[in-house]
Symmetry: C2
Subunit: 321 residues, 2 copies
């Protein structure tokens, strides 16, 4: 039976046991630092789970699972430099703890280490895992570039927004699932089913993030509510509201905000509620969860394995059964 | 017969013909910009030449040759951000022409494109070319980290300096040669001989760069003479002079320089000449050229092909025969 906690622990142990060269310390210490954060390790867990589901042995995909997590952390490392972020998971970001040059260079090294890891013990699957890994990487960069471009653009459509988050975050979850399927020897149909599952799950997760930043419980969500509104962050909610903003009131408010943050949050939330966005956003999340569930059901997994993936998807919307 | 100009043209044409996606422009335009610089294209030329020398057909290594040049330009792109450089080959650097986030992200994408390119049509050699490429990339990062560390350190030995430039620049020339040999189907002995040739050639080139910055002809060298001295850049000359600086006079001069640049250049050059460094540096360059020539002569190439590599090495020190 596939258990999330077991798989998380396998990944956390494997990442902790990586044997870095001791020198130059300035190159390898930041890599060990960013990879040492514990947590659920969703992406590599999906890789191990997919591999176990198709061949009964998650260990066959351990290196590829680690590669997924390493690649993910490489993107966080460089994104934090680009966004000038100070904190990541409650700790100083690499470019704050060290400096910017260190963050750029150790990020580059982490990308190459991830590339090395994905081909490790890949055997007959070497070509397939490399192709999937590199294609996914390019999509993630395109998503990040779109994200940066959208911050400067006034009229982003909801379709453009969804395509941006699909590239920036969802394809990596899709690839994580397919990577495990490849290493487990699955055929094309199963690979595609698991890829689609991960991709739709990723969209549901990202929209849920957008939703919880405004409508979550601060204690459970782990950060202040309304931060996205204060920062004018393009989210599903804001992009949808701006598209419906015929009077220009919302646009004016976010361009030259004349009021305090708490008042801005209240005004924007009122606009969201008039447009019924809390409900529409929840509906959109549920739709992506349904699409993920539908996809995984075409993979022909055992009932118990299928349940793991279905439960994980349902947990996105607070349902566990 | 192997001809440098022919091979340069093949590479320049192939790089110009890369078909990038049109969107997002912010990701792909900087990549096309940095790759569009003409020039000798030493690294990919070495790959094509090595492949032609071992199997008679340089085309077999075209993708791998392009990958070498793409990787080289990725390192330049990120190094320029780390060094805050304004100009590269007489044009604004990517982070000046666009911005820093663009330079980081398009550099990441260029590294992944290079990785994709190196595995393209690699056939049975896929594992070998990937292994060489990734190992070399890690060494280049280590060299760059050492270089940054040395700027903060007082007592760098000449052995540490040579090891730093070996990692930062020479291993890529070694890998470029071996990459061509692999794609041409060469055996381990020939691969090693050509790698060593490239590595020693790289050391000779870098030391020649150090030498010419102080002793070159400004018109031929293409930049102001003495820039390294003005900037206290750790070069073979400065590192060697500092190691012999028992009075501490040179160290004091570079730490708190009380005189104008032209005077500083004159004083430092006088110290170099007292230590006989122009001659010793020329001797060191000649020694690396000799080692490169010796290495390539063990590869068992045809006389004509061997002459190409020997002449290229000898051209480093102004000898052409």
């Amino acid at each position: 039976m596939i258990e999330l906690e077991n798989l998380s622990e396998i990944i956390n142990n494997a990442l902790r046991d990586i044997d870095y060269p001791s020198q130059p310390a300035g190159l390898y210490q930041p890599i060990a630092y960013i990879l040492d954060c514990g947590g659920k390790r969703l992406r590599p867990v999906l890789t191990l789970a997919a591999c176990q589901a198709v061949c009964g042995d998650s260990a066959k995909a351990l290196n590829q699972a680690m590669a997924m997590e390493m690649f993910h952390n490489f993107t966080l490392l460089h994104d934090d430099v680009m966004d000038k972020a100070d904190l990541r998971r409650g700790r100083p970001t690499v470019h704050r703890k060290w400096d910017e040059a260190t963050a750029i260079l150790s990020g580059d090294a982490l990308l190459t280490l991830a590339t090395m890891r994905v081909s490790m013990n890949a055997g007959e699957h070497l070509h397939d895992v490399m192709t999937l890994f590199n294609k996914t990487a390019m999509e993630v960069y395109e998503g990040q570039q779109n994200d940066m471009d959208f911050e400067q653009e006034d009229d982003v459509t909801i379709e453009q927004y969804v395509e941006m988050i699909r590239l920036k975050t969802s394809v990596l979850l899709g690839a994580a699932c397919e990577m495990g399927a490849i290493m487990g020897g699955a055929d094309e149909k199963v690979r595609r089913a698991l890829y689609t599952y991960g991709e739709k799950l990723g969209l549901a997760f990202q929209l849920q993030d957008d939703y919880l930043d405004t409508y979550g419980d601060a204690l459970i969500f782990g950060k202040e509510i309304g931060g996205d509104i204060v920062n004018n962050k393009r989210t599903w909610l804001l992009v949808t509201a701006l598209a419906a903003d015929e009077s220009g009131k919302l646009r004016k408010l976010i361009e030259h905000c004349p009021v305090a943050n708490s008042e801005k949050i209240a005004i924007v939330m009122e606009i969201y509620e008039k447009l019924n966005l809390p409900q529409l956003c929840t509906d959109a999340i549920r739709s992506y969860v349904d699409q993920a569930v539908t996809a995984v059901k075409t993979a022909g997994l055992s009932a118990a394995d299928e349940k793991f993936f279905v439960d994980l998807a349902l947990s996105t919307i607070g349902r566990t059964h």
